[in-house]
């Protein structure tokens, strides 16, 4: 029983990391940008949920819709305002801009909402579900199911749809994609929209579990998810999911052993080991293929 609970905890935390890692990986896949502001988009999503439910007194379903929508728009806006003008600039300039956007969002949130944590109300009264005699946390089960569905939908989108194929074409050769008649800027915007929508979903699942919004919550979450994406092989969808689950399970195992102060260190240790053994990550392609 205890073991089953821990497995579910690992799955839950890992799923959240996986969702966030998917956003990192998609944006990296298409414009080779480590979007450091990605974690902060989740923070904004959490504040939207808090605003809508705790301040405006509106039902949870409205909070969910507005959180996902708000994150999606924010992601696209960040690309248009901050990254698109630098499309032909050296990669370092865009990277530094991403760090700047991240600070801007964190400090902006602190200015608007204050530094103290806001309590995000529960999305549902249901707290457990019964499954074959076991009583499982609803938030955990919902998180795992939503992440699984999102991963399948995303994979189908990228592999099967015209837009998904355009995304892959842009990711491989922007110039050749333009010659095909693909509007590269729109395709990149769409990628940001999808990645940020996943961040919005991640925000809801995260606040279901941890019920708090703080200006800096996106930082650690984002960093862990980034580690997950790199572990799995940045640019790879299955890699992001496997990386997310690995990081989630590593944390839960370390915590269960009573070593919770070490949980962050273990995640980075895992990253170092994987990068030594397999520098491109678990599902990563070698860089020479990408040229």
């Amino acid at each position: 029983m205890q073991v089953l609970m821990q497995v579910l905890n690992g799955l839950q935390l890992g799923s959240i990391y996986a969702l966030v890692a998917l956003g990192y990986t998609m944006v990296y896949g298409i414009i080779l940008l480590l979007n450091f502001a990605h974690g902060d988009i989740i923070m904004v999503g959490a504040y939207i949920s808090w605003l809508v439910m705790a301040q405006l007194g509106m039902p949870p379903v409205v909070a969910m819709i507005l959180s996902v929508l708000g994150c999606t728009l924010l992601g696209v806006l960040i690309d248009k305002v901050a990254y698109a003008p630098l499309r032909n600039a050296p990669r370092l300039s865009i990277l530094i801009t991403a760090i700047g956007v991240s600070y801007f969002l964190e400090n902006g949130a602190q200015l608007v909402f204050g530094a103290d944590a806001k309590v995000v109300p529960a999305f549902t009264d249901v707290s457990t579900i019964q499954l074959g005699g076991a009583s499982l946390s609803f938030a955990a089960v919902a998180t795992v199911v939503v992440t699984a569905v999102a991963t399948v939908v995303l994979t189908l989108l990228v592999q099967k749809t015209k837009l998904g194929k355009a995304m892959r074409a842009v990711s491989e050769d922007m110039g050749a994609a333009r010659l095909m008649g693909i509007n590269v800027n729109n395709t990149i915007s769409f990628t940001f929209a999808v990645g940020s929508a996943l961040a919005g979903i991640g925000a809801i699942l995260y606040t279901m579990a941890y019920t708090q919004a703080t200006p800096t919550m996106g930082m650690m979450l984002g960093t862990k998810a980034f580690v997950a994406a790199v572990l799995g092989g940045i640019g790879s969808i299955p890699g992001a999911v496997v990386g997310g689950l690995l990081v989630g399970f590593a944390e839960v195992i370390v915590t269960a052993l009573g070593l919770s102060v070490w949980k962050d260190a273990v995640v980075f240790l895992l990253l170092i080991i994987v990068l030594i053994v397999r520098p491109t990550g678990i599902f990563g392609r070698t860089m020479s293929e990408k040229v």
């Binding site: 110039g175 010659l179 008649g181 693909i182």
Partner: protein
């Protein structure tokens, strides 16, 4: 009226002036070739016409409408396709997916029809339609790049060094396909370092040297021109 008319075109990469005031025309139904040494500005010219690069000055007219500075993804919609130097197929996508990308601006119904024609010209692509493009041989990749460009149903097809790096027998095959395409109604602008082959199938040719046009004439004229023979045909 010429189908494509380029007048006094200048293109630079920062301080490097790659194309310095060239003018040329292509009439419907022709095969026109631009020949010249490595670095003469041939690819820069094609990339600018296709909209990948912005001209510094000069005019580019296609069917009488200006396309100078029009973005590449819009140029292709007007019926002008570039098969770029180095092929640039999407190596991680299948042959069929590459062709699908070529027809990006066209309807599914149109693409089904064009695909049949492309497979007629390149039966090998049909055999390999499920294969990942990166695993094709150089010749097959060139065929895929050409087929992909044809999927947009261009009236003017620009080919940048289609014979580059190919064995002589494949070069023959590629050139005979270019001729076929032209006979079935596609106007062709061909850039080549393989001047001999290019001149022998071209109606007209322009010789490009350090960003300017040095000579022009019919393919047959330039094949026997002394200067051209010395510089590009090995005597």
């Amino acid at each position: 009226m010429a189908m494509l008319s380029v007048q006094d075109l200048h293109v630079s990469y920062g301080a490097i002036k790659a194309v310095r005031g060239i003018s040329f025309e292509i009439n419907e139904g022709e095969i026109v070739t631009l020949i010249g040494a490595n670095g003469a500005g041939k690819s820069t010219t094609l990339n600018t016409v296709a909209g990948l690069l912005k001209p510094e000055s000069g005019t580019i007219e296609f069917d009488g409408a200006s396309i100078a500075g029009v973005q590449a993804h819009k140029v292709v919609q007007r019926g002008l396709a570039l098969c770029p130097e180095g092929r640039r197929v999407f190596t991680q996508m299948s042959v069929a997916e590459n062709l699908e990308m070529g027809g990006y601006t066209r309807s599914d119904a149109e693409n089904r029809e064009t695909l049949e024609r492309v497979y007629d010209h390149f039966p090998r692509l049909k055999e390999r339609r499920g294969q990942v493009a990166g695993t094709l041989s150089g010749g097959e990749q060139q065929m895929l790049a050409m087929g992909r460009a044809l999927m947009s149903r261009p009236r003017l097809l620009m080919l940048d060094e289609p014979s580059m790096g190919l064995a002589p027998i494949l070069v023959e095959e590629i050139f005979s396909i270019i001729k076929q395409l032209n006979e079935s109604g596609t106007t062709v602008l061909l850039v080549e370092q393989n001047a001999n082959m290019a001149l022998s199938i071209a109606d007209r040719a322009y010789v490009l040297e350090t960003g300017t046009i040095k000579k022009t004439g019919t393919g047959a004229e330039l094949l026997v021109d002394d200067d051209v023979r010395k510089a590009y045909l090995g005597g």
